[in-house]
């Protein structure tokens, strides 16, 4: 298959297959993501949804098929991998902030060492994004001193400091206490409204309805259904989708 030369397509996944040993976890995924598009992926555990987005920034390695990010193909070429990673931001379920660095240092690490920015410039950018996620007053605290919701917002700001073209979210609110989920979702909604391209793996269907252009249901390593939220939630077409929705929307 030829790559599409549409400059508007920022992530292109063509016939992607991945195995863990002999377990076939991704079975021929095809996906185009346009600039500014927001996709929510949902599905039961083991469906491959986390694996899929982790393949995009090479935290997992695919065995068959192609992944092209912003025109760069993802192969074993180390230079390509590092370039792609600086264009793709990722927010993890367990935040993964660096506990031995302050909040500010967590944010400036990437810009200083990857983008080779002077320290002052990096700190200005960091403070800008800390204000954006409403946590600028904690800049000199350590992650261990913050609540879960605060840590996740810092994690989002940390990825934003690299000015990524697309943000991946791997179940960003699954590890949070209920009262902190809203503060993180609000930040993600603001981000969406500013036009960031986002792929979000989550069970927060309210978020999907508000912000997603497309909602994808994955099961058993394939994309079962992919539709705009209005259609997805009201007229699911497949039995499996219907079953899943009935389990999570109660």
């Amino acid at each position: 298959m030829a790559y599409s030369h549409d400059k508007n397509i920022i992530v292109e996944i063509i016939d992607l297959h991945k195995w863990f040993g002999s377990f076939h976890v991704l079975k021929g995924i095809n996906l185009h993501v346009h600039r500014g598009e927001r996709i929510v992926i949902c599905g039961p555990s083991g469906s491959g949804k986390s694996t899929l987005i982790r393949c995009i920034n090479r935290l997992e390695e695919h065995q068959k098929g192609k992944i092209i990010v912003d025109g760069i193909e993802l192969t074993n070429n180390v230079k390509n991998i590092e370039k792609i990673r600086s264009e793709v931001g990722m927010v993890f379920q367990h935040f993964n902030l660096f506990p031995h660095l302050t909040v500010l240092e967590n944010l400036t690490l990437g810009p200083i060492w990857v983008r080779k920015m002077p320290k002052k410039e990096a700190e200005e950018i960091a403070m800008h994004f800390l204000e954006k996620v409403h946590i600028a007053d904690q800049a000199h605290k350590y992650p261990g001193q913050l609540s879960g919701g605060q840590q996740q917002r810092v994690a989002i700001a940390r990825s934003l400091c690299m000015s990524p073209k697309i943000m991946l979210f791997d179940e960003p609110t699954s590890a949070l206490d209920p009262e902190m989920i809203k503060e993180v979702l609000d930040v993600m909604i603001e981000l969406a409204q500013e036009g960031m391209t986002m792929i979000v793996v989550t069970h927060e269907m309210g978020f999907a309805k508000k912000v997603a252009h497309r909602v994808m249901f994955m099961d058993g390593g394939v994309i079962v259904e992919s539709n705009p939220p209005e259609e997805f939630f009201s007229i699911p077409r497949h039995e499996r989708t219907k079953l899943f929705l009935s389990q999570i929307l109660h």
Binding site: W19, G21, H24, G28, Q63, G221
Partner: protein
């Protein structure tokens, strides 16, 4: 939408060739390392096998050993009874043998956690009494054997097992003392623990063998073994204390508060609530202390006590068998390795089981 057709994973991941590629040759560096490692193994293992097994002598008299190139395992086989049992009277050596078997049996039985209950303590009590009777004799028609004749492997096991058993309660008391809010008790405990942990075991053994007799009034003597045993107990207790302290610190304050709010006093709180939890948590590091105690018994060589290391060295000082230290020490190394390895495997298994429960 799309249904994944039956696609096979890439061959390299699932066959033997695939395993080789992934584990031995995945990168250039790995391939290089594999090749030089295999080269060095090739250079060292076949000559060793030749020396140890192909050219070796196993049951020959010493003169024959000097004529061959290979290992002389006869130094072990011809002297095995002295190495294992030392000076214990030759015809009574079935007694320490049975005592050791009883000990191994008890240890093996105790490995399973579901057998840990009151009954186990009785079994150990009975077992230890049987071992003491077998070793000392004097009743039930067994001839009396003085403790000065206890030597070899039974002595090694005795020093380590009794060492740990007696050190354990002392260590627990010291750990509690260290946690205490009473300054006198706390200071005494800290001084003891830091003093003992800061000095090498050899200095305590010297103290035991030379200075303990000075502590006693005239006329009272204690046997050499007892002196060494006391030194080992005092030494091990300090290390147990540190291990138990770790366990005590892991108990959340809420446990103490709940016990207090029920009206339990200090001893009840410790006995019923805190210690059962703390001691369980630190089982793996406690086994580690036991393994160290087992290895450390070898130091009694230096104060001329005949544990299994010294009996071996006595054999090697016999002019007939001089010069075969390599073989003798390798045998001892295997012996110690088997003992320590089985203990550490048990410890790891216990650790896994305890972690699952948390």
């Amino acid at each position: 939408m799309e249904k994944g057709a039956e696609v096979k994973p890439p061959i390299s991941d699932t066959t033997i060739a695939g395993w080789l590629k992934k584990n031995l040759f995945s990168t250039k560096l790995n391939s290089f390392l594999t090749i030089i490692t295999l080269y060095y193994l090739w250079k060292t293992i076949p000559p060793f096998v030749k020396w140890a097994f192909l050219d070796s002598a196993w049951f020959t008299p010493p003169q024959m050993c000097r004529n061959i190139d290979g290992a002389c395992w006869s130094v072990i086989t011809k002297n095995i009874r002295f190495i294992l049992f030392g000076f214990f009277p030759y015809d009574q050596q079935w007694r320490p043998l049975v005592a050791m078997l009883v000990l191994f049996g008890l240890l093996y039985y105790s490995k399973e956690r579901h057998r840990w209950n009151r009954r186990l303590i009785y079994y150990w009590g009975v077992g230890l009494t049987i071992m003491a009777i077998l070793m000392k004799g004097g009743i039930f028609g067994l001839t009396s054997v003085e403790s000065t004749k206890w030597s070899g492997l039974p002595l090694t096991l005795l020093l380590s097992v009794f060492g740990l058993t007696a050190a354990y309660p002392l260590g627990v008391i010291l750990a509690l003392g260290r946690q205490s809010k009473m300054p006198a008790v706390k200071v005494l405990s800290i001084v003891y623990i830091e003093l003992i942990r800061g000095v090498p075991l050899i200095s305590l053994l010297f103290m035991g063998s030379i200075i303990f007799p000075l502590f006693l009034p005239e006329g009272i003597t204690i046997s050499k073994i007892l002196r060494a045993q006391v030194a080992i107990i005092l030494f091990t207790a300090a290390y147990i204390a540190e291990v138990v302290r770790g366990g005590l610190q892991a108990i959340p304050k809420g446990q103490y508060e709940a016990a207090a709010s029920l009206g339990l006093n200090y001893y009840q709180t410790m006995r019923l609530v805190v210690l059962p939890q703390a001691l369980k948590i630190v089982i793996p590091p406690t086994v580690s202390v036991l393994i160290s105690a087992f290895k450390d018994t070898s130091l009694v060589v230096i104060i001329a006590l005949y544990d299994v290391l010294k009996t071996t060295q006595t054999v090697l000082s016999d002019p007939h068998w001089m010069g075969f230290s390599r073989e003798a020490y390798i045998f001892l190394a295997v012996l110690y390795f088997l003992g320590c390895f089985s203990m550490s495997q048990t410890s790891r298994k216990l650790e896994r089981e305890l972690n699952i429960e948390r």
